[in-house]
Symmetry: C2
Subunit: 256 residues, 2 copies
Amino acid sequence: MRVSIIGSGNVATHLSAALKNAGHHIIQVYSLNQQNAGLLAYHVKAEAISHIAQINADTDMFIIAAKDDAIESIAKQLASYQKLIVHTSGATAMDVILKYNLQAGILYPLQTFSKTRELDFKQVPLCIEGSTEDITIRLEQLAHTISKHVSRVNSSERKILHLAAVFACNFSNHLYAIAQVLLVENGLDFNLLKPLILETAQKVMESSPVKVQTGPAIRNDKKTMKAHLGLLDRHPPLQQLYEVLSQSIIKMGNGG
Amino acid sequence: MRVSIIGSGNVATHLSAALKNAGHHIIQVYSLNQQNAGLLAYHVKAEAISHIAQINADTDMFIIAAKDDAIESIAKQLASYQKLIVHTSGATAMDVILKYNLQAGILYPLQTFSKTRELDFKQVPLCIEGSTEDITIRLEQLAHTISKHVSRVNSSERKILHLAAVFACNFSNHLYAIAQVLLVENGLDFNLLKPLILETAQKVMESSPVKVQTGPAIRNDKKTMKAHLGLLDRHPPLQQLYEVLSQSIIKMGNGG
């Protein structure tokens, strides 16, 4: 397939590389950041452009991998080419494309990307939606060439997935950051905690998280929870966080 | 070394097996739960007992791997044998042994254990404390035979480590559980989220979590946060959790 990429950030970088490696042709990489566009275009043997006027219309689809806020205005500008326009956002409805362009779709990779971190794209779950059955099938076929995990997910389901990902991943990462702050301010090494962080994540690859919940809250161990709140007395916001999370664990129990 | 194990739960099981595999002799396994004691004793070729009166005094140390609340009373009962008594708890001070027995120590494995899940004990960080330098050295020597990661950690540092572990692990696991609830109640498969959970944990093996924070809060993306709160309108406690965690991320920023 002939694909044009709009954007040069983390998602654009990994998605372009995966498409290129699967034998597709990346026609152009468009980004307002000329340097990023040039670098990515070089890696995937595409043309780098930084003005909409330079768009090459000889493409099968435009994939917008840009900031959520920018998707709608880009879709509006690309609508005149009458090609399939796809975005990659978890939090953005298909409507923002559909109101300018009838051929619309989503290709949402449910993963966290960093440019400098290698990742096996075949393992990335890809959530697909199309404005017609024909488009959905075309996107599924494309997705199967780069990932082993392709699912149809509609816009309302995708919003829930994105919300769940914020809990499981963005918020978890923040808890790792809090742990690091607590260790560092007491002269302890964050490395001590790393095996436990990894094992906690690996455990839920096989077990339901609610069933493997451990710690003072699930035991309703009031003495330990009180001691922990005492240790946090210089961090009132962390005390609040500790209490809200512990109450939530107690409420959920081991049953779901 | 000749070691007696008090307890037959997750920590007792993995620690006994690691000690046995390293060539130490497990003399007895004591547990009020006769069946658990028998099973563990069978695996590590020890004698199973369920009455304190059956204790064999011909041992180098007692390792108490029991519930936090039970440690003190067990230590009190074992004091008459005048042997080294060690506990494995993150949240319990050495004092609870020391007030009955001068030879006291800690061997705290900073990991989450399940009986049915295999684990490379060599990778488990072991935090050591002894009531004398001589005891600390003996415990370090023992610890080095079963793990590659042995650190001296005093009682107040250990409390901080335990608190940090609650944030990074117990609370993270609860966030996975919340994500699962959100997916299941919308007919979505928790498996979709697993690669992202694992990658989020793997990322911080190499990068400082505060520097790789992603998501709507760190971007201060009010529109997405508001939409997420709307999706949670049937779960007021989760709305509160979402807000408290998002505010905490905004406050910490990318700088620490």
